[in-house]
Amino acid sequence: MKENKKTYWKGIEQLTNDPEFVKYADKEFAHELPLNGEMRGNGRRDFLKMMGFSVAAASLAACEAPIRKAIPYVNKPVDLDPGVPNFYASTYVQGGNYCSILVKTREGRPIKIEGNPSSDISRGGTNAQVEASVLSLYDDARRKSPLKGGTAISWTDLDNEVKSALKSAGQIRIVTNTILSPSTKAVIADFQAAFPSAKVVTYDTQSVCGLLDANKESFGKSVVPAYDFSKADVIVSFDADFLGTWISPIEYTKQYSKTRKLGADKKSMSRHYQFESNLSLTGANADYRAPIKPSQQGPAVVALYNAIAKKAGAGNVSGAAEGVENIDRAANDLWAARGKSLVVSGSNDPAVQVMVNAINDLLGNYGKTIDIEKHANYRQGNDEDMAAFIKEAGAGSIGGVIFYNCNPVYNHPAGAQLAEALSKVKVSVSTSDRIDETSELVTFVAPDNHYLESWNDAEPKVGVLSLTQPTITNLFDTRQAQTSLLSWAGKQADYYSYLQGSWNKYFDASKYLDFQTFWDSCLHEGIFTYEGPASTLDAISDSLAVQPVVVEATVASFAGNVSNAGAAIAKGYKGGDVELALYFKLGIGDGTQANNPWLQEMPDPVTKATWDNYLTVSQAFANETGITMFEGKCNKVRLTVGEKSIDVPVLIQPGQAPGTVGLALGYGRKKAGVVAEGLGVDAFALSGSSNGMVSYDVMSGVSIEVLSDKYQIAQTQTHETYMDRDFVVQETILSEYVNDPSSGRSHPKIATWLDEENHAVAPNTVSLWKGHEYPDHHWGLAIDLNSCTGCSSCTIACQAENNVPVVGRDEVINRREMHWMRIDRYYSSDAAPDDRKGLEKAAANPEVTFQPMMCQHCNNASCETVCPVAATTHSTEGLNQMVYNRCIGTRYCANNCAYKVRRFNWFKYHDNKQFADENTPMNSDLGKMVLNPDVTVRSRGVMEKCSMCVQRIQYGKLEAKKEGRRTNDGDINVACASTCPADALVFGDLNDPKSKLSKLLKIKDNTVSMDKEVGEERAYAVLEAVGVKPNVLYLTKVRNIDQA
């Protein structure tokens, strides 16, 4: 057994052993709490006296209980029982982002989003944005009625005015993000029939226009291909954050995580190379990561092409980068895994994408890991069309424009020009759900429903259809945009029957009794798949009774011009002193959901920063300019790109490529709602353009001036540190794992008199306590560190499920965030802890490990023994229970918790004006609709922590009892595990030998004893030496890297 000799650190402070940090590292809070006499005004004792009196007075006054009403339905809907949740299959669509979902409703209110396991695309996974979208439904900033020129107007008047205005408008444009819905496209076609001058302009906020153009050149199809990462043994990504934000991250994470699973019958895993400037979530998961500048991206792809071409016997291309790390290694691995590999690039430059296509073609990946025939529809935007539209509008040649659920003034690089041009457009309409940067400037606002109030469909991939159904009646006087378009086109404006009408063509009379049965079945499943490309569909309904459509597996041949692409790259890629790489954050994305406090407070998985965007700089840059960062506090800088300059706080990011800086888009909203406004800076205007494409890489003209202003970013990364305790993270490399599945595991021993020879035994063998018996269930959780990508979807799912409050930026700085579930991110390097030079070097490109951390439900829980009022106790099912009403807030338990997972309510976060702008789900009647009625909203002064979703356990057990059976494995699942797109978390009953968890952990004896013998060699308990015997076990991280 080889013990882990790496050094792990959570932040720069810990790496450099900052004296200020070390001083308080063992404390929960960085500063002393104010003690008696230090408080302003009355002392603490006076306060206690006053409080005692007021409590007495309040309880006397409360003797008379208020009258409470019980109001039943007038006419109870048939399939709705108060107290019983209903699930509806639906579809989340945000621009081109897609996820098939189940919506959990209680008494007619959507309260939680779950993944839809029936979907072949998202396969039951979701991400943070999807999870949080249910809160956006109850956003008070949503437009509550239609507007004309800023004043409310009725829908009838709006329809009449818009209709007549459009008739005389002349040239009309419909501006939109990618539309996945075939029926919506049909609606637009009907609109165009009524207004023949209307043209559709599609743009994407995260443009992949370069990819579309390259595929047009290479294969004659301007599409996003369907990637299958699950079939790839070697994955090479050039700046594509496919696990976090690139195109379809949920789908890719599902596929990718399959290749990262290890077990007795699967001893191989994929190898992942990443070449990128910023440390992205995907880069953090890569086996080999090379930091490169944006200006090296194109040349690096060329270098890889040349290396592969040499093996394939094809000709070289000029313009290759010299000396990029890992290129040759990647080329060798790719060549060895021909047909089972995948190269992707996040670049928006068609030349680079053609080059990538050429590499995949040489490797024979088309038809295997890449499907260009049954392609995806996630991105359809055309940057050139959009640029042309803005130019035309500026010239005054556009008479009418309809913004269909998009906000280009904010999220298009030329937004400012568009804002100016809008004054020259005679009639402008927006269907935006709120007053945003664009709808603020238009004549008419015709607010669309939230997707949870809407009917719709989507075709994310050829042959895969998906339905959206309303799960609540309209909260406000809004109307579906499709209905609006239909009524302006003078059509029968009922989108529901329109939708059914357009689905008639999919109805196959040989399989379903009638259309209604077919429709109901699609609606129940949420998805419907059909064979064959869309073009043959119209024929299906006529001919299907006779013969099924057979699709030939043809592989289009690559027709891209590699030498041209190489020449373009050689010409275009010239680096500057500092290069700027703009990126999207996992939570906020393009900023559409910026007014969602759950997403704002979600710590970015890599930087662990909340509520802000910032300029990520390398340690080398910090050394040069002499800036230092402590707990997120650093200088601001003035970032100048061409003529534009903005002041932005700085965050020193290990792994940032030297000579580059990174800045997230999606922040700096000027009009979005109280939560979002004034947070961060808007960087869309900084993105450049190359060959007519929006470019998120700015290679020249960037300069940075360090300002003397300081700013503290609310970062959670150094909170709750484990000090120098070893073996929190346990990892190994694949070759060692194959030899010894328990490699990388630490087996701590503790000194005792029991073992006479060594005075050391395993910590599990010694205990002060009698232990517990679990005759019924024994709930447990296993977390595979190798699958976990750190995407933080679980953090938001937990927040939604368990009514976890949002505390706001200031309280995060005070280390008082409330998340029950956090993702600990560790950097590591091979250098020894006292090798300062070595560590500094390693910090330039560290390895990263993500570790989800929540209450470990210890069998010998240290919190339980110190509570003076027994407010935290142990259950007969292995759970560590927390009783809010018994808790008196001594916080002894939090002090005594080895994992630092207990969170204290320092304030009353609900019904408190102080938090009204941050904790919107608990401070207005509208926001409160999202709360889970099965979970208590905690008040000030009590401790809380992960309950292992005990409400779900109780519900699942009751269902089983009602049916007179034991619970089936999978009936009960905790919120974090059910949302996980990587299937990294497995929840189950350790007493049930058939449960997935028992099998995964290879539990040998499913007895009533709390001590179960775990047969899985990779499984370990964090801080095993403490001897608390957690019910949450982790599986070691295995990196697929060669022996050093």
Binding site: I67, P72, V74, Q881, Y884, L958, G964
Partner: protein
């Protein structure tokens, strides 16, 4: 008559199979019992012997499924019924098989005849048994009191005899003894004596403290709370006299946490034809017509932090409604019969045996429990006192 005899051929034979009868009873209780009894008239006719009385079994099936159509078809028997009861029966979309099993139950009950005397149910039996030990204790107490009084009387007599004897011998006594002998009882002396003062103060203080504590514990406890409801609905009439199954109106009681206060449309199922002109019913009708829900006053208030599930107790545990809600079928105005405090819940969880019969969920637990040498498995034994069973 011809058609009737033909119809009476095969499938119309009323089964005497016990399982069919049992299924019929369940269907009867769920669907018919609201308006029909077997042996006496209720809202609708008594059903005994109906299979011989009605034109045919086929007719019964037709009528159950769509009474309106049968009456409108001019059927003599149906019209006579309608004129007699002046109520249109609700249509029940039941399968042939289901109706036949209900008839099987009706036939079985008809054969049994009306129950002679209501047999005392097990609940009262248990109560009588419970009275045993406590009555015994009372007898002992009374005996002791009588004994003590006797002793007191005897002591008093002895004292008087001794006193008289000493007075006769008064020459031999000293001064002190004489004073003692001549002492008369002084009330004020006794009252101001230290032990009495101390005892009085102690008792008063103890009573006040006890009163305060009891008072504090009763904060938020609304036992006997019986507010006036917006509609003068009587459980005594519906659940008591007409024996309508609780489940018929409280639809959630077997499937949800909430038993559900019935929605107005459930009331109107019957009341669209029964007493439609009563002022109380008119209020319900108004609620339905105006789509404004009825605002009942909530009587049984659980704090938000406690999660009580009706389904767990009624469906799984087989607990009777009366256990917590009192003799609800005798209440004209519903009141809160029990404390509904945590102590009250816990008390019951300590005493109550788990209803694990025919429920595979509990098999493993019962086996484990028996293995440990226990006979009775109470709710407490399987974690029924754990915090997170009710608080999360």
């Amino acid at each position: 008559m011809m058609s009737a005899s033909v119809a009476l051929a095969q499938g119309d034979v009323i089964s005497e199979d016990a399982t069919v009868i049992d299924a019929g009873k369940q269907l009867f209780d769920a669907n018919c019992k609201t308006c029909h009894r077997i042996h006496e008239k209720n809202v609708g006719p008594a059903l005994q012997d109906v299979y011989n009385r009605a034109p045919s079994v086929e007719w019964i099936r037709e009528f159950v499924r769509n009474p309106t159509r049968v009456i409108q078809s001019g059927d003599q028997y149906a019209n006579d019924l309608f004129n007699e009861y002046n109520i249109m029966m609700t249509a029940f979309p039941l399968e042939d098989e289901q109706i036949m099993s209900i008839l099987a139950y009706v036939q079985d009950e008809t054969k049994k005849g009306p129950a002679e005397v209501a047999v005392a149910d097990t609940g009262t039996e248990a109560a009588t048994q419970d009275a045993g030990p406590s009555g015994f204790m009372n007898a002992i107490m009374v005996g002791i009191v009588i004994l003590l009084l006797l002793v007191l009387g005897i002591l008093f007599l002895i004292m008087r005899v001794l006193k008289r004897y000493l007075q006769q011998q008064s020459e031999d006594l000293g001064e002190e003894d004489k004073e003692l002998l001549g002492q008369t009882f002084s009330l004020s002396g006794t009252l101001t004596s230290k032990p009495v003062v101390f005892l009085t103060i102690f008792i008063i203080t103890a009573l006040v403290v006890k009163g305060v504590i009891t008072g504090l514990f009763s904060i938020g406890v609304q036992m006997n709370y019986a507010p006036t409801q917006p509609i003068a609905y009587s459980h005594k009439l519906h659940a008591g006299q007409y024996q309508i199954d609780c489940n018929y109106c409280h639809t959630g009681v077997r499937k949800s946490r909430n038993a559900n206060i019935p929605s107005a449309n459930i009331c109107m199922n019957c009341h669209s034809s029964i007493l439609p002109d009563s002022p109380e019913i008119k209020k319900i009708k108004a609620a339905v017509d105006n789509d404004t829900p009825i605002e009942w006053i909530r009587i049984h208030n659980m704090p938000d932090l406690a999660y009580f599930s009706h389904a767990q107790h009624v469906e799984v545990g087989g607990v009777e409604c009366q256990t917590c809600h009192g003799q609800i079928q005798e209440m004209d105005v519903v009141k809160q019969e029990n404390l509904l405090t945590m102590g009250w819940c816990v008390d019951c969880h300590r005493k109550t045996e788990v209803n694990g019969k025919d429920n595979a969920y509990y098999d493993q637990l019962i086996e484990y429990h028996k293995g440990n040498g226990n006979e009775k498995m109470t709710v407490e034994d399987i974690g029924g006192l754990e915090c997170a069973k009710c608080h999360y």
